[in-house]
């Protein structure tokens, strides 16, 4: 055990921090070393990055009721 050895819990924490370029030089070394030997944390990195990027486009095709739209229209008219 030395200061370069980190756990999966720590590695996954650093993965999130890495996205924002907030890793210190020591953390970079720790994460690089861990990911080199841990396929599970590599998967975590790929998957969490993937769904976080797609979250940006979250969109649900929803439609307002005609009553709601009428109300909005009349509120605007009253201005």
């Amino acid at each position: 055990m030395n200061f370069l050895n980190i756990s999966c819990k720590k590695a996954t924490y650093l993965v999130s921090k890495k996205e924002a370029n907030k890793l210190s030089w020591l953390e970079k070394l720790q994460l690089r070393g861990h990911l080199a030997i841990c396929s599970l944390c590599r998967k975590f990195e790929i998957q969490s990055k993937w769904f976080s990027e797609h979250a940006h486009h979250a969109h649900i095709d929803a439609i307002l009721s005609p009553e709601s739209k009428e109300k909005m229209q009349s509120v605007l008219k009253d201005q």
Partner: protein
């Protein structure tokens, strides 16, 4: 007022559904989403003199709406911010040595991560998974990944420290990943 650039009479017809569809997954509350759309139209109406036509009418309305959504999270933060719990549901993903447990280790998703995603199921499941997170985790996730604010802005808006922020993001991602794997990949 720039009559040629804006058509307030048509706003509701043209944009209400699009604004509402955008808001709903970001606030998880139909009545609140409707209110935010209504407020967007009102604010836009009041600010119409300042519209210079640099952006389209539609993207201008979306900018106003996005500010309303962030404001909502800012106000809500006062009620929900609490000290970080030492114990969290995401702790169960790791054993005593802080390595993945067999039940919760990341599995093979068997998808092409570089392909475009056009999948309503994904967004439906993501939405359901997000709703299971603690309120404060949801706020952080929406502001960071759905509204693209940076960490410093989010900490300021929610009144949390940078280290709390990283812990919240970490826990939210662990739980979302597992929830997506169980409910979307393994549909």
């Amino acid at each position: 007022m720039n009559q040629t650039l804006l058509n307030p009479d048509k706003w509701v017809d043209r944009y209400a559904d699009a604004l509402y569809s955008y808001t709903l997954p970001r606030v998880n509350d139909a009545a609140l989403a409707e209110d935010l759309v209504q407020e967007t139209f009102l604010s836009a109406w009041k600010a119409r003199e300042g519209f210079k036509g640099e952006a389209s009418e539609k993207s201008w309305l979306f900018t106003i709406l996005k500010n309303k959504i962030i404001d909502h999270y800012r106000k809500k933060a006062k009620d929900i911010v609490q000290p970080l719990a030492d114990k969290d549901p995401s702790d169960r993903f790791f054993d005593e040595a802080e390595h993945w447990t067999p039940d919760d280790k990341p599995g093979d998703w068997g998808i092409d991560y570089s392909a475009a995603l056009d999948n309503k199921d994904f967004y439906r499941v993501l939405e359901a998974c997000k709703n299971k997170l603690q309120q404060i985790q949801q706020s952080v996730f929406v502001m960071k990944y759905m509204e693209d604010l940076d960490a410093a802005e989010i900490c300021k808006a929610l009144g949390i420290t940078a280290s709390n922020y990283w812990v919240l993001i970490h826990r939210a991602k662990l739980q979302l990943r597992t929830c997506l794997e169980k409910n979307w990949i393994n549909l």
